[in-house]
């Protein structure tokens, strides 16, 4: 196998990798800006320079020349090479800044150049704290600057489109944003204009940067030149925690980070996962966080004298059980949910089974034309496939409507959905029978007819599993804390300061913004127990373990197997 020597260590490699990517894959850090694994390689920032040598080949024998110690004679190229664009070759010898003063100096020089016209407005820059330029300048840059002239001034507040703001002075002209619109989103909405130090990216005249994926350039930008109009000036990176999870606007389940400050979601950014969304997020996924902060309920309620009144959780469970206990299982309609996790739907199914009811069904939320064949799907729910794998199938609307009308359905148990809002039932049709509702937001229209209203934890407050449209099972983690103490949630949410999860010990943890809700996997066992059917689990992990062991469509899908990037169920042997 071909070999390469990097700073004296020999590595074997296959194929023709580029040196920079190889180094990054092997934990050898090299400063760089313009290189991105998903984009073409322009080698324009010139930050990733290394010294490169090749063995001298003896013309007569065709073999490498050896020195007196039997080592191959290495001839170093006179110019430093950009590692991002360099094809590795057998016998190559590379010196990085760790072993070459020449390389260290070139990196320092380059950073000096990058900073001379940079506005250095880090104190007010959203990128500060997670800025590759800032980090690398501290690590590899010069002590100060020898530049004693007026910096070049460029436009500082350019609205490129509805969602992205440009500060051209901060731009280091790496062209990542332009390459993204040329090569990935193919909208071709950005280009560099001007020349030399005046360069900056902009839209062509008359064009608005309204690409549905426009906000990805914000994360691509290695400086604070491109910022989110929605998020800018809201919070500094070090004031926030970032929780790895997935987005739920559609069935793709793109991987993301939820950024939390004061126990509110303030931003959603993409998380790389080549099996799902590569490095990208649709803008719509990223802006879809208000539902976690706004119109949230405040504790459970039951209907008394026609009005919902606030009660304790215990009282709410008692009431739900009391309403259901008089009714024959067959007469209760259990509505599962493509918004809820696999675990929650599974518990609902177990409860239905225990009461002798039909298997739950779910309400599909399909928006034809929303999908784009990429990271948006027509299906606006995150877990339809998870439901189906549990045997929870789309509801036969006509059937349940006629059953309700004929009095065959005498109670409805709704898991995290809105049958009235979605048009499955009219409010009048449900008015006279008990309705038990797990819900996220006070905008839920079924609340008007609910007899027991149980606030459920949302994707950013719970633990659980979703299966995306391609059969990829992924875990979610709690990003923000709920009011009640739940040991299982606390364990995941509050690991350490390093993870920057919001914990009671972090100063940005804010009780005011804790919603009094509970995960459905905590609510359902309470109700079940009161109906005489214990459904006790130590937590969602154990529920999933049972699912993985008993349901062939989930065979092997344990939390360990899913890890941070999830698993493709077919690949671990689960049935389709």
């Amino acid at each position: 196998m071909p070999r390469i020597t990097i700073d004296g260590t020999v590595y074997e490699f296959e194929g023709r990798p580029k040196l920079l990517q190889f180094c990054l894959d092997h934990g050898i850090e090299l400063p760089h800006f313009c290189y991105h694994p998903a984009l073409s390689i322009p080698a324009n920032c010139r930050q990733c320079l290394v010294e490169v040598g090749m063995p001298v080949i003896d013309r007569e024998t065709g073999k490498p020349k050896l020195d007196e110690n039997g080592q191959p004679v290495i001839q170093f190229m006179p110019k430093l090479q950009t590692s991002c664009s360099l094809d590795m070759a057998d016998g190559m010898v590379v010196k990085t800044h760790r072993t070459s003063e020449k390389v260290a100096r070139a990196q320092r020089d380059n950073l000096e150049f990058l900073l001379i016209n940079h506005p250095l407005d880090c104190p007010i820059c959203d990128q500060a704290g997670k800025c590759p330029l800032q980090n690398q300048a501290y690590k590899y840059g010069p002590e100060g600057s020898r530049f004693e002239f007026l910096k070049v001034h460029k436009p500082k507040r350019v609205k490129l489109g509805p969602r992205v703001m440009l500060d051209a002075e901060r731009c280091i002209n790496c062209t990542r944003c332009v390459r993204f619109t040329d090569e990935i989103s193919k909208s071709h909405q950005l280009t560099i204009i001007e020349r030399g130090v005046k360069n900056y990216p902009i839209t062509p005249p008359g064009v608005e940067f309204d690409d549905p994926y426009s906000m990805n350039v914000i994360d691509l930008c290695p400086v604070g030149a491109l910022t989110s109009i929605d998020a800018r000036f809201k919070a500094r990176p070090w004031e926030m925690s970032a929780t790895p999870s997935i987005t739920i606007t559609n069935a793709k389940g793109s991987n993301c980070y939820y950024w939390v400050r004061d126990n509110l979601i303030v931003e959603i950014t993409p998380r790389a996962n080549t099996a799902v969304n590569d490095y990208w997020l649709p803008d719509e996924d990223r802006l879809d966080y208000h539902r976690f902060n706004e119109n949230r309920p405040d504790g459970p309620e039951v209907r008394r004298d026609g009005r919902l009144v606030r009660v304790s959780w215990e009282e709410a469970y008692d009431r739900a059980a009391a309403l259901l206990s008089g009714i024959e299982g067959q007469r209760i309609l259990f509505l599962g949910s493509a918004y809820a996790t696999v675990e929650d739907n599974y518990l609902l199914k177990r409860l239905a089974e225990a009461l002798g009811a039909d298997t739950p069904v779910y309400i599909p939320h399909i928006e034809p034309g929303h999908g784009d064949g990429w990271l948006r799907t027509d299906d606006r729910t995150p877990n339809a496939q998870g439901c189906q794998r549990l045997g929870i199938l789309p509801v036969d609307e006509a059937l349940v409507q006629s059953r309700l009308e004929s009095g065959d359905i005498q109670a409805v148990y709704v898991l995290e959905d809105d049958p009235v809002g979605s048009g499955l039932f009219s409010a009048e049709a449900l008015a006279d029978i008990p309705v038990i509702l797990h819900y996220y937001n006070t905008t839920n229209q079924t609340l008007a007819v609910a007899d027991v209203a149980l606030p459920a934890a949302t994707v950013v407050e719970t633990i659980g599993t979703y299966v995306n449209c391609d059969g990829h099972a992924q875990r979610v983690r709690p990003a923000k804390a709920i009011r009640t103490v739940n040991r299982v949630l606390m364990r995941e949410i509050g690991k350490s300061r390093l993870d920057q999860h919001g914990t009671p010990y972090d100063r940005w943890y804010n009780e005011k913004h804790q919603v009094d809700c509970k995960p459905s996997w905590e609510i359902l066992p309470e109700v079940a127990e009161r109906l005489g059917h214990p459904l006790r689990y130590k937590g969602p992990k154990y529920i999933m373990q049972e699912i993985a062991e008993t349901i062939p469509a989930f065979a092997g899908a344990t939390y360990e197997a899913m890890g941070l990037e999830g698993v493709r169920l077919v690949e671990i042997g689960a049935e389709v």
């Binding site: 070139a106 020089d109 150049f113 990058l114 016209n117 002209n173 020349r195 030399g196 130090v197």
Partner: protein
């Protein structure tokens, strides 16, 4: 200049007969060019058994023709880098973007002898089995572009360009492409980007154009003057060409002489002319009988030579390298004793700062910084330490960029300071803390 005359490699240059810009009236018109034997070489190449494409390349190799675009790369060798013919398109780009300060010889060719360029292009296309050539012309040359387009139409009408040229089964198109005012478009890879309709950012090499050029296909780029030499080589033989001028860098060449001389202009002579002959004989000496201060031998990016450095130096790659400069485009800038070298350098740094495409960091930031400092010195606000900083910045730019513009910007700075340092020092203020003075008093006393 008898002593120097002996050292000239240009032979009997006083009786030299011009072949690139022959003294023929209206030669730019097809009828006149044909009447003087034009396109006969092309016909010979296309129809004679002797000239298969390989033989043409061999002949060009034999001629030792080196590119006239600035880098002086052997043309025949460059052509032979083209991969074997397959079903992919292949391209030739003829570089007429001529924008380097001090260089104005391609324009003469396009104005006075465009058909020799066309003929050279067609022969080159034949040699490399290329079907399409883009002639990229600096947009400011609008008048000659218009004229060349007119002549090109005539060529199409006559069947000299296009399908089945001269009734043979060889076909080739020529497309004239106008530049839009950027010096960087003359750099071969950004020239291709520009033709592709993109922003003219130079590409990283490798891959080289012969592997992956225009639209990703095998491509060769040659300068206008380079290709205008090709019909001559095929007509008179490679050996004839190789015998003209300096043996290692032979052929006729267009010297563009500008600056403080009595008769500035473009002059055609063999390579290997003594610089002194060019200044004092060809261009009629320094204006007003003044003394020479410096010569920039090959366009503004080549290092300037002090007057005392040019004795016996001839215009060819070898001699100029030994003297500490380069042949470049053979555009000589002659500066007399009154020239303020700082002011001159200020103008040059302004040009490169203005023309840097801004793609790579050291060039984008460095060219502007160089201009800032040189301007400050020129305005009497500089300090001595600025000179070291300038040299430092040259180190930080040279060899670390995508294309050679950064080098082209750094060389004049480096060598003007090294060779005319006293002029810079005279304009600088002393540094705030003079060296050699112990500024830290000892406390123990």
């Amino acid at each position: 200049m008898a002593v120097n005359g002996v050292q000239s490699k240009a032979g009997d240059w006083r009786n030299y007969k011009r072949v690139l810009l022959p003294p023929i009236r209206d030669l730019h018109r097809l009828e006149v060019y044909e009447a003087h034997g034009g396109y006969q070489t092309l016909r010979e190449v296309l129809t004679s058994d002797r000239w298969d494409p390989k033989a043409v390349i061999e002949e060009v190799k034999k001629s030792k023709l080196r590119g006239r675009g600035g880098a002086g790369f052997p043309t025949g060798l460059k052509w032979s880098f083209m991969p074997p013919v397959d079903d992919r398109p292949r391209f030739l780009c003829c570089n007429g973007d001529e924008s380097e300060p001090g260089t104005f010889k391609d324009r003469q060719l396009m104005e006075f002898n465009p058909h020799q360029i066309f003929e050279g292009i067609l022969i080159a296309c034949y040699a490399m089995s290329v079907r399409t050539c883009y002639l990229y012309v600096r947009g400011e040359f609008a008048r000659w572009i218009e004229h060349m387009e007119h002549e090109l139409e005539k060529l199409y009408a006559r069947g000299y360009v296009g399908q089945n040229i001269m009734g043979t089964d060889f076909s080739a198109d020529i497309v004239i492409h106008k530049g839009a005012g950027a010096y960087i478009c003359g750099e071969e890879s950004s020239l291709m980007e520009s033709i592709e309709g993109k922003r003219a950012y130079p590409r990283i090499k490798p891959p080289f154009p012969a592997q992956r050029g225009l639209w990703g296909y095998p491509t060769t780029i040659n300068n206008v003057e380079t290709l205008a030499n090709v019909p001559l080589i095929l007509r008179n033989g490679g050996e004839w060409f190789a015998s003209i001028g300096a043996p290692n860098h032979p052929g006729p060449v267009l010297y563009g002489i500008s600056g403080h001389v009595n008769r500035p202009g473009v002059y055609e002579y063999p390579t290997g002319m003594l610089i002194t002959d060019l200044i004092y004989e060809v261009a009629g000496g320094i204006r007003g009988g003044k003394k020479l201060k410096a010569v920039i031998p090959g366009g503004s990016s080549t290092p300037p030579l002090r007057a005392d450095m040019i004795d016996g130096v001839t215009m060819d790659a070898e001699s100029l390298r030994e003297a500490g400069s380069m042949m470049g485009t053979a555009g000589l800038l002659v500066l007399d004793e009154d020239t303020d070298m700082v002011s001159w350098l200020r103008r040059v740094t302004h040009f490169y700062a203005h023309e840097s495409c801004g793609q790579c960091t050291p060039c984008r930031e460095g060219t502007g910084w160089l201009e800032n400092i040189v301007t400050r010195i020129d305005e009497g606000e500089g300090r001595l330490r600025d000179l070291d900083l300038l040299l430092d910045l040259c180190d930080q730019m040279e060899g670390r960029t995508v294309c050679a513009l950064a080098d082209a910007a750094a060389w004049p700075v480096r060598y003007t300071i090294l060779r005319f340092r006293e002029e810079f020092e005279a304009k600088c203020k002393p540094s705030l803390i003079p060296t050699g003075i112990d500024v830290a008093p000892t406390a123990t006393e």
